[in-house]
Symmetry: C2
Subunit: 351 residues, 2 copies
């Protein structure tokens, strides 16, 4: 099926330039940003030109490829020093999604495994590895879509939070990929799109993607979910994840926890979709996950228009932690995982 | 105590003009709108120049006074016809808050009780009754403040939704009046201000009022309440109400129910403050309350800036219904009411 989304790409490496669709301008403009060094990539991640755990993982991998390409190192040791520096900068660009660390570590592990210490050969292999990672991300999304679509009824009203589509990944999407797969199977899907304050990724990005895909949707404010559930209008919720702890606690966009509590109260299934690269087996539980705080202006201004009084105090956490007990199942590229999660992750999540 | 808020008033009747602080321009501008007939008052209510259940009750009462003053009726029957028409228009200006109906009915009951059928005398008495209603609203808020302040700990972090302060009433406020009374008693209060999408009454109006009053506050997005509660940062929630059904179900600003569910999950007290005029003993439960749907533009645009894709579908309910079981107690001018509400309302709520 050809759809409107195929005209666009989220991220691509071409001629030693990382090109990204600049998500700050969507849905009104489709502009691409070109990064020619890893610092620009890190800035793009931190300013949310590109966002979504899988997408920023790919961006970090390509950032490492740029770091290698732009390095003036004449020998392996100097190259490794440059790569270590780039790794630190890229990992620090945003703290919560584990995919950044995962992607950078994957590149570094590959480099460390090389028998040859030839600088240009290493540089070539880093790009090869980044391209593999990006390709696998797309394949994983397709698999998640297939695995998850089986959980979606033939007629389904679904609440979706934030953006987890093609824009949040290299292509296709995680939670939105599941919705897309169900739609492609001919199921009758309608999505209630949480607008997702403060940055409105739902109202801006998810609405735009669903429009391109021809999937019916309705935008709501984040706090309208309870009313819809009370009226029996919601069959399930599905969200993505920025980091899953080893016990199944989930860090995801602020508001995920409130949605999960509402679903719990109404006995509505609450699914979390994400690639195994978003699982952090080193985090014992949600308390081990750093929740990023972002600038006040995301709340005090919208589209450059000031909302709040001058001098207003603001607390702007970008993520929250949903305890494992509120999650019906995880949808991964390796299958659907049910509770008890700690036990069932073993053997499935391996890194 | 003199504070910054005393410079302003929410609504006032002077020289046969109803003047209202135009809340659409706050916090950036303090402009007043003058209404010289009841149609203008109804439009001001429906466009939310003035909002908040008690404040629109007072506005409707003054609208009736304008209707009488502007009537060309030469006899009682013609005046009654004009008043009936005004009553319908004012009641229809917004459907959910019961205070509109209550205020208009109070005026009409007073008129019907008059022994004299003198048109100018009736006109004078309608204004007198509207002024009484407004004065009582202010007194009731003071009483609610005193009754509610006893429930607030000496050190309290409070989540507050929407705006329930001086701007939502004739003066002082309902839920925010309770917060204000506790602050005036020297308690150490900090308010987490739900920004309250879509119209941002929290970020715009409540933040402005708290700033004028010198009460410390922090603005959050509505869906951050769960994270704060999880971190033990919230001691109680307090909200207002647009209509309370006879079983204790509450219609209030969209997002109230989601906040109540989060408080319930975390065993945090959830208080509802409102004058007895917001209680509708004719509504058996929440299902009997009409939830107003408002224009798409409240969600698709912010400050005139378009957020969503062109053609996006939107669902914009202005209120939700919080079931009685999630409410710890009601704070009214007549005292604090604990469950079982249906039983305890009897004898306290009398109209």
């Amino acid at each position: 099926m050809v759809d409107g989304l195929e005209k666009y790409f989220t991220i691509r490496y071409e001629d030693n330039i990382v090109k990204m669709l600049d998500q700050r301008y969507l849905p009104h403009q489709t502009r691409y940003l070109s990064c020619s060094d890893y610092h620009q990539v890190a800035t793009a991640i931190s300013q949310m030109v590109i966002r979504g755990a899988p997408a920023i993982g790919a961006a970090a991998a390509y950032g490492m490829a740029l770091a290698a390409y732009r390095s003036n190192a004449q020998n392996h040791l100097d190259l490794m020093a440059d790569l270590d520096k780039a790794a630190s900068v890229l990992i620090a660009s945003r703290p919560t999604a584990v995919n950044l660390t995962w992607a950078v570590k994957r590149i570094m592990d590959r480099v460390k495994s090389l028998p040859s210490h030839n600088v240009s050969e290493t540089t070539r292999i880093i790009l090869e590895e980044a391209n593999s990672l990006a390709q696998e991300d797309e394949q994983n999304c397709q698999l998640m879509g297939q695995n998850g679509a089986s959980l979606i009824p033939v007629n389904a009203n679904i609440i979706h939070h934030c953006n987890t589509g093609a824009l949040a990944t290299v292509a296709y999407g995680t939670a939105l990929g599941v919705i897309r797969a169900a739609h492609e199977q001919g199921k009758h899907i309608h999505v209630f799109v949480d607008e997702t304050r403060p940055r409105l990724q739902g109202a801006r990005l998810t609405a735009w993607e669903l429009q391109q895909l021809g999937i019916p949707y309705t935008i709501i404010v984040d706090s309208a979910s309870g009313l819809l559930m009370q009226h029996g209008k919601v069959h399930l919720c599905i969200v993505g994840c920025d980091r899953v702890a080893s016990n199944g606690d989930v860090a995801n966009k602020i508001g995920t926890y409130n949605l999960a509590m509402a679903a719990h109260v109404h006995h509505i299934p609450f699914y979390v979709a994400g690639p195994s690269s978003s699982f952090d087996m080193d985090a014992r539980d949600g308390t081990a996950i750093v929740v990023e705080e972002r600038p006040d202006e995301e709340i005090t201004q919208i589209g450059g228009v000031r909302i709040t009084p001058e001098g207003a105090e603001v607390y702007n956490p970008a993520f929250d932690i949903t305890p494992a007990k509120y999650i019906t199942a995880f949808i991964t590229e390796k299958g659907v995982i049910y509770p008890p999660f700690g036990e069932h992750f073993h053997g499935i999540i391996t890194h």
